[in-house]
């Protein structure tokens, strides 16, 4: 065997990195285009994201009421009818999206960030770290969420979606922490992690660059699922009337439709009830359709094929 000539250093590191990133996004596009269902999912999620971003700007701060059309049936002017005050239900759904989605995102970010960091640390360091972190996790898992929220809401009035998300997030990271820990435990036995340690690479590098990317599909999936979970949770809370009705929210709509409009017994408030339900279903569907692509997006083998 002979040593082949050393080739000139092809391209700087900067350009190489940039092209890697470009390839990644091109790969994501390719993965999403593989199935029509994924395109549909992206379209649905994009629609709701747009609603959350610009929805409230499309309508006046106080939505107009029409006292002559309380619980109006669906019509061209009001595709989902009107509510007890004669406000357009579609407008309520659109303007309520921001609160719901923002809470969902905040919750998801907190659960995933906390769960991943704690799970990674526990799994990677094992020993005492593991014991302490996992006991905390167990504690979190044993806290009954709903009763605690009921109690909390009596003493603390949640101000807006951020606080709502924070509370939901702090109550929901346990499952992810456990799952990430067990993933870490199995990954750290893999040859490449051992090799990284043998080469003297820093723990930060090993956790951040070697372990985390291997778990990316898993974390991304959990994040998306956490969004739907948080949406259900907060809508449920508003529906139960546990939280003050300080703004437009799909849960508030459900509550008013059922308890105020008697949607379960009379047909008049039915569109008012179905509209927010449909929104939740559609958003969940969109997310579920995208979750299917996560494995292929973060696994280079599946992405590049």
């Amino acid at each position: 065997m002979t040593v082949t000539a050393i080739l000139p250093g092809g391209g700087g590191q900067g350009s190489r990195r940039a092209s890697l990133r470009r390839n990644f996004w091109r790969g994501v596009g390719r993965v999403l285009r593989r199935k029509p269902s994924r395109i549909l999912g992206v379209a649905i999620v994009a629609l709701f994201a747009a609603m959350a971003l610009v929805g409230p700007m499309l309508y006046p701060a106080h939505l107009p009421r029409d006292d002559n059309a309380l619980y109006a049936a669906p019509s061209l002017a009001h595709p989902f009818g009107t509510d007890f005050e004669g406000t357009d239900v579609l407008a309520l759904v659109v303007t309520g999206a921001r609160y719901v989605i923002l809470t969902g995102l905040v919750t998801a970010v907190i659960t995933v960030a906390l769960g991943t960091v704690l799970g990674l640390l526990a799994g990677f360091h094992r020993g005492r770290w593991d014991t302490v972190l996992m006991r905390i996790t167990d504690l979190q898992l044993t806290i009954p969420g709903l009763p605690l929220l009921l109690v909390l809401s009596t003493v603390w009035k949640f101000q807006g979606p951020l606080e709502m998300g924070l509370v939901l997030g702090l109550l929901g990271w346990g499952g992810i922490a456990r799952a990430v820990r067990s993933q870490t435990l199995s990954l750290r036995e893999r040859g490449f992690i051992e090799a990284a340690r043998g080469l003297g690479l820093s723990t930060t590098h090993i956790i951040g660059r070697e372990l985390l990317p291997s778990m990316a599909p898993y974390i991304a999936m959990n994040m998306l699922i956490a969004v739907t979970g948080a949406i259900y949770a907060q809508v449920g809370l508003f529906f139960l009337g546990v939280l003050p009705f300080d703004s437009n929210n799909w849960g508030v709509m459900l509550n008013l439709a059922v308890f105020g409009g008697g949607a379960l017994t009379s047909a008049a408030a039915l569109p008012y009830l179905l509209a927010p339900l449909l929104a939740i279903l559609l958003l969940t569907l969109g997310i579920v359709l995208i979750v299917d692509a996560m494995d292929e997006i973060f696994n280079p083998r599946l992405r590049e094929e």
């Binding site: 065997m1 040593v3 082949t4 000539a5 050393i6 080739l7 250093g9 092809g10 590191q13 190489r16 890697l20 893999r190 040859g191 490449f192 051992e194 090799a195 990284a196 340690r197 043998g198 080469l199 003297g200 690479l201 820093s202 590098h205 660059r209 070697e210 990317p213 291997s214 990316a216 973060f298 696994n299 280079p300 083998r301 590049e304």
Partner: protein
């Protein structure tokens, strides 16, 4: 140079609350790997060869005994202070499929240890990419082809070359190759073995070759020493050619007898040793570890543990009360 004396390792197997069974992976192993030399450890699965390799590569600790690396004993050092010594000994894994991170390109994989090195030695950033390409050329692959690729896009042989290149990023004194070719296609195995041989000859990197395949040990460590391990004990040790052509321990003889004969190219050796029983690690200790399976055992073998001693040739040692040379290896057929 690495010298080990009386290295032991016991694994506690998880049992019930009253305690589990202990498995003695290594029962006081002595070894010497000279600078730039080639040494082979052979034995069947569970003989302790992998554990020994991992201990030597610093990936596992030992219970007692001493390992001296270039004159510095490791036992008195804290784990943190041992690290720089063990970093000079790099393990080449058996499985090139799990030894590379599937989410990172070859460039990223080589870059991480090289940039660490660059920052420690004050080399410019441009050195990193140059060195990565140099190392890939050294292990016989085209840097332009592999650098931007992910591991799954490479063949097993190429991956193993990348793994070797990655080990070379820290300028090691020694490579521990643990069954490094067993998962590679037959036609490509020899080229990887030749690479290890070549690195030893040209760079002076010593090679510790761990395998169950004695013929590959003969190829890579012909002039070096061969250690035959059985249940955590070295039962025979000597120059590779000596142990293969004139084995003395019945276990070595059984191993050599079990190697398939390439009929047409070879004829079976005149003698053949077959163990009287299959391996059972639960059998009681006390006497010779191989006694129960040994066709030549006597009363003494069951009562007393033989220790490694040399015969007429001081370089050829064996742990057997009834050493006898037997011609068990295949003979080349004359066409």
């Amino acid at each position: 140079m690495i010298i080990g004396t009386g290295v032991t390792k016991t694994y506690k197997q998880r049992g019930d609350v009253l305690g589990g069974r202990n498995v003695q992976a290594l029962r006081g192993v002595d070894f010497t790997v000279p600078k730039g030399g080639a040494v082979s450890f052979i034995g069947e699965s569970g003989c302790g060869k992998t554990t020994l390799g991992r201990i030597i590569a610093g990936l596992e600790t030992y219970d007692s005994g001493e390992i001296v690396i270039d004159g510095t004993p490791m036992t008195p050092l804290s784990p943190r202070r041992r690290r720089p010594y063990f970093r000079r000994i790099q393990l080449i894994h058996q499985d090139p499929y799990s030894a590379l991170n599937p989410t990172r390109t070859i460039h990223q994989t080589l870059r991480a240890p090289l940039s660490l090195r660059a920052s420690k030695t004050g080399r410019p950033a441009s050195w990193i990419d140059e060195r990565a390409e140099e190392l890939l050329s050294l292990v016989g692959i085209d840097p332009g082809y592999v650098l931007g690729r992910y591991p799954h896009q490479l063949s097993g042989g190429m991956r193993q070359r990348v793994v070797i290149a990655r080990a070379l990023t820290v300028d090691p004194d020694m490579l521990v190759a643990d069954e490094s070719v067993s998962m590679i296609d037959v036609s490509m195995r020899l080229s990887i073995l030749a690479l290890l041989k070549d690195l030893r000859e040209r760079l002076g990197v010593s090679v510790l070759f761990i395998t169950h395949d004695i013929a590959t040990a003969r190829y890579i460590g012909g002039e070096g020493e061969l250690y035959v391990l059985y249940r955590g004990q070295v039962v025979e040790r000597g120059l590779t050619e000596t142990v293969i052509s004139a084995p003395v321990h019945p276990y070595t003889q059984s191993l050599l007898s079990a190697i398939p004969v390439l009929h047409g190219l070879e004829r079976p050796g005149p003698e053949r040793v077959v163990p009287t029983e299959a391996l059972d690690e639960r059998q009681a200790d006390g006497g010779c570890l191989f006694a129960r399976r040994c066709p030549f055992r006597t009363k003494r073998c069951e009562a007393e543990l033989p220790i490694l001693t040399a015969g007429t040739d001081p370089a050829h040692q064996y742990a057997c009360f009834h050493p006898q040379r037997r011609d068990v290896i295949p003979v080349e057929a004359v066409a």
